[in-house]
C-alpha cells in the first residue's frame, strides 16, 4: 500500500506526519519504507537519521549529436516542444536544462545522428533507519527539473507492505509526480487563512487525480475555525488534529521525532496509521 503525505502550503508538517507514521508502523512490526519525494529540499533524513547503502546518480536522457552524420534537415528542432535542441546551418546546439528527455529528436532523426546520454541532475539514496527502509533523492543545485529525480526515487522503493511518500509543497508537477500512484493521500494543513487557501488547491489537485484523501490539521488551535468548517462542508474526513504544542515545535527544531520527544503523540500517529491503512 502507498500513502502520500502532501499539502499545498509548505511548512505545515508533512515531514512530521510522514516520518512519525513510518516510525510507528515499523515499531508495530510492519514492513515499511519512508520515501522522501521533496528532492528540492529533502528533510526526512534529519529526523529518521538513516544509514545509506547505495547512492546512484540519476538524470534526464538528453541528445548527443554526431555532427559527422547530421544532414542539418532540422527535424529534431521541429519535433522538440521545449526548445532544447537548435539545429543551425553548421552545427546543432543542445540545451540540456530545457530537455525533458522525451526522446523525440533521436526517434525522428532520419540518419541516426542522435544518440542519448544521461545528463546528471540529481542522486537517489537508499538505506535504512532502524526498521524503516529509507529512500530519498536530491536535485542538484541549479537544475530546474525535479520530476525525473522524483521518478527515479519512486522506482528505487524497495519491496515493502507500506510505502509512505513525503511530497514537496505546492500543487504542480513535482507534487503530481510524487502522489500519482498513491492509494491514499493525507493532506496536512494548518488552521490559518494561508493554510486553508492552499488546502483548497491541494484538494482540487487530489480530486483531479481521482484519489481518496483525508486531512490532518496540524497546530490545531493556532488560528481560526474555518478549516474544520471547510472540511465538514466538503465532506472531507479530518483524520487527526495535532495540537499547537510548543514541545513538538522544539523537538522538530532539534531534528527529533515528535512521537519520541513527547510520548503522548505516539498514540496519535498510531491511530492515524490505523485509519489510513
Amino acid at each position: 500500500m502507498k500513502i502520500a503525505v502532501a499539502s499545498g502550503k509548505g511548512g505545515t508538517g508533512k515531514t512530521t506526519v510522514a516520518t512519525n507514521l513510518a516510525f510507528v508502523a515499523a515499531r508495530a512490526g510492519r514492513r515499511v519504507a519512508y520515501v522522501d519525494c521533496d528532492v528540492e529540499e529533502p528533510n526526512g533524513h534529519i529526523f529518521l537519521k538513516p544509514q545509506f547503502e547505495s547512492t546512484s546518480a540519476v538524470g534526464t536522457s538528453i541528445p548527443q549529436v554526431d555532427e559527422a552524420k547530421c544532414t542539418h534537415c532540422g527535424l529534431c528542432g521541429e519535433i522538440c516542444q521545449y526548445k532544447a535542441i537548435a539545429p543551425l546551418a553548421e552545427t546543432v546546439l543542445v540545451f540540456a536544462d530545457l530537455c525533458h528527455g522525451c526522446g523525440g529528436c533521436s526517434l525522428v532523426c532520419p540518419v541516426g545522428a542522435i544518440t542519448e546520454v544521461v545528463h546528471e541532475t540529481g542522486e537517489v539514496q537508499v538505506g535504512s533507519a532502524g526498521d524503516v527502509r529509507f529512500v530519498h533523492g536530491r536535485l542538484n543545485i541549479g537544475q530546474p527539473m525535479s520530476p525525473p529525480v522524483i521518478r527515479a526515487v519512486r522506482k528505487a522503493v524497495p519491496e515493502v507492505d507500506l510505502a509512505i511518500f513525503d511530497a514537496p509543497p505546492g500543487t504542480s508537477c513535482p507534487v503530481i509526480e510524487s502522489v500519482r500512484d498513491a492509494d491514499f493521500v493525507i493532506l496536512v494543513t494548518e488552521p490559518t487563512p494561508f493554510g486553508l487557501n492552499d488546502l483548497k488547491l491541494a484538494v482540487e489537485m487530489v480530486h483531479a487525480l481521482k484519489l481518496p484523501l483525508g486531512v490532518v490539521i496540524n497546530r490545531a488551535g493556532m488560528g481560526d475555525r474555518e478549516t474544520s468548517a471547510f472540511c465538514r462542508q466538503k465532506n472531507l474526513a479530518i483524520l487527526e488534529e495535532i495540537p499547537d504544542d510548543r514541545r513538538i515545535a522544539e523537538a522538530y527544531s532539534r531534528g527529533e521525532m515528535a512521537c519520541e520527544a513527547v510520548a503522548d503523540y505516539a498514540r496519535l500517529f498510531e491511530r492515524l496509521l490505523e485509519k489510513v491503512t
Partner: protein, 305 residues
C-alpha cells in the same frame, strides 16, 4: 529599478507574511507573487483585478477515439507513462488508447508518430495571470491551473509583467514573493534579480534548506542576505544558522521573534506592521530597513540577465 526576491527553500518559514509587511513599509512598490501554485499574498493584499489573461505554457495531446486503431505506437514511445489503454471502443476496435492529461508533459511524440492522425495536439490553457491594484501599489499575480505544469514559465511571465508595470509607472522597487524549493519555479523567480532575501527558521530543516538556497544564489551569482524568522523558537539553532550564514558570506539582515500576532494579522487580512506595533512588528521594520539598504547598494552593473 530594483528587484528584491524573497525565498525560503523550506516552506512555511513566514515568507509571504514578511512580504506583506514589506509591501506596507516600502515606498511605492510593485508586487509580484511568484508562488504560482500555492499563492497566498492576495489573501492579505486583497487585490482588485484590473487585467486578466490566460496562460498557455505548452501543448497537450488528446487521442480522438473515433480515429484510433489501437496500434499502440503512442504507448510504446511515451516516456511519461501518460498513455492508457482504456479509451472507449469504436467500430473497428473494442478499446482505444487515451492520454492522461495530468501525466502528459506535452512532448507531442504521440501526435507526430500516430499513423492514423488520431492525436490532436493543441496549446493548453495552464493558468491565468492578473494585473491588480492593492492598497500598497500594483500587483502582478497568477494562478496555475490544478495539476498543471510549466510553473517556471508562468513565474517568468509574472516577473516580466511586473517589470513592465514598474517601467510604465516609474516605480523603483519590485517585491517578489518566491516559491519554496530550489527547482524550476524558484530558478525562474531569482534569475536576473538584484537581491535575494532568504527567510529561514531556527530548525535543523530550516538550516539544511538555507544551505541549498544559498548555493543556488551563489550558482546564479545573485547577492543574498538572510532573515531568521521565529528565532526564539530555538535560539541555539538560530545562532548556528548565523554562524553558518557568515561562513557562507551571507549577511544576517534581521531576526524576527515568534509571535501569535502574525497569525492574527493574517486572519484580519492585514500585514503584521499594519496590525500591531509590538516588538515583532518593530523587528520586521528594522529588518526591512536593513534589506532596503542592502538592495539599494547593489550595483545595476552586477545584474545578470
Amino acid at each position: 529599478m530594483k528587484e528584491l526576491v524573497i525565498i525560503s527553500g523550506k516552506g512555511g518559514t513566514g515568507k509571504t507574511s514578511l512580504v506583506a509587511s514589506f509591501a506596507a513599509l516600502a515606498e511605492n512598490p510593485v508586487l509580484a507573487d511568484c508562488d504560482v501554485d500555492a499563492a497566498d499574498l492576495h489573501l492579505v493584499l486583497e487585490p482588485t483585478i484590473r487585467r486578466r489573461e490566460k496562460f498557455s505554457g505548452g501543448s497537450r495531446a488528446r487521442i480522438m477515439s473515433g480515429h484510433c486503431t489501437a496500434c499502440g505506437k503512442c504507448e510504446e514511445i511515451c516516456r511519461f507513462d501518460a498513455i492508457y489503454f482504456d479509451g472507449p471502443g469504436n467500430g473497428r476496435v473494442p478499446k482505444t488508447f487515451r492520454v492522461d492529461p495530468i501525466a502528459c508533459e506535452g512532448c507531442g511524440l504521440c501526435a507526430w508518430f500516430c499513423q492514423d492522425k488520431a492525436v490532436e495536439f493543441a496549446p493548453a490553457v495552464n493558468g491565468e495571470w492578473f494585473v491588480s491594484d492593492t492598497r500598497f501599489g500594483p500587483m502582478v499575480h497568477a494562478r496555475l491551473g490544478v495539476a498543471e505544469e510549466n510553473s517556471g514559465k508562468l513565474v517568468s511571465l509574472v516577473r516580466t509583467e511586473a517589470r513592465q508595470v514598474a517601467e510604465q509607472r516609474h516605480l523603483e522597487l519590485i517585491l517578489v514573493d518566491g516559491a519554496p524549493g530550489i527547482g524550476c519555479a524558484v530558478i525562474a523567480s531569482v534569475t536576473g534579480a538584484d537581491f535575494i532575501l532568504v527567510v529561514t527558521e531556527p530548525t535543523l530543516s530550516g538550516m539544511h534548506d538555507l544551505g541549498r538556497v544559498a548555493e543556488l544564489a551563489g550558482h546564479f551569482n545573485i547577492p543574498a542576505g538572510v532573515c531568521i524568522n521565529k528565532w526564539d523558537l530555538n535560539s541555539e539553532v538560530a545562532s548556528r544558522i548565523e554562524a553558518d550564514a557568515s561562513r557562507r558570506g551571507l549577511p544576517v539582515l534581521g531576526r524576527v521573534r515568534y509571535d501569535r500576532c502574525v497569525t492574527e494579522a493574517q486572519i484580519q487580512k492585514k500585514s503584521v506592521v499594519e496590525y500591531t506595533d509590538n516588538a515583532a512588528a518593530e523587528e520586521i521594520r528594522q529588518l526591512y530597513q536593513a534589506v532596503h539598504e542592502a538592495v539599494s547598494s547593489t550595483s545595476p552593473a552586477g545584474k545578470q540577465e
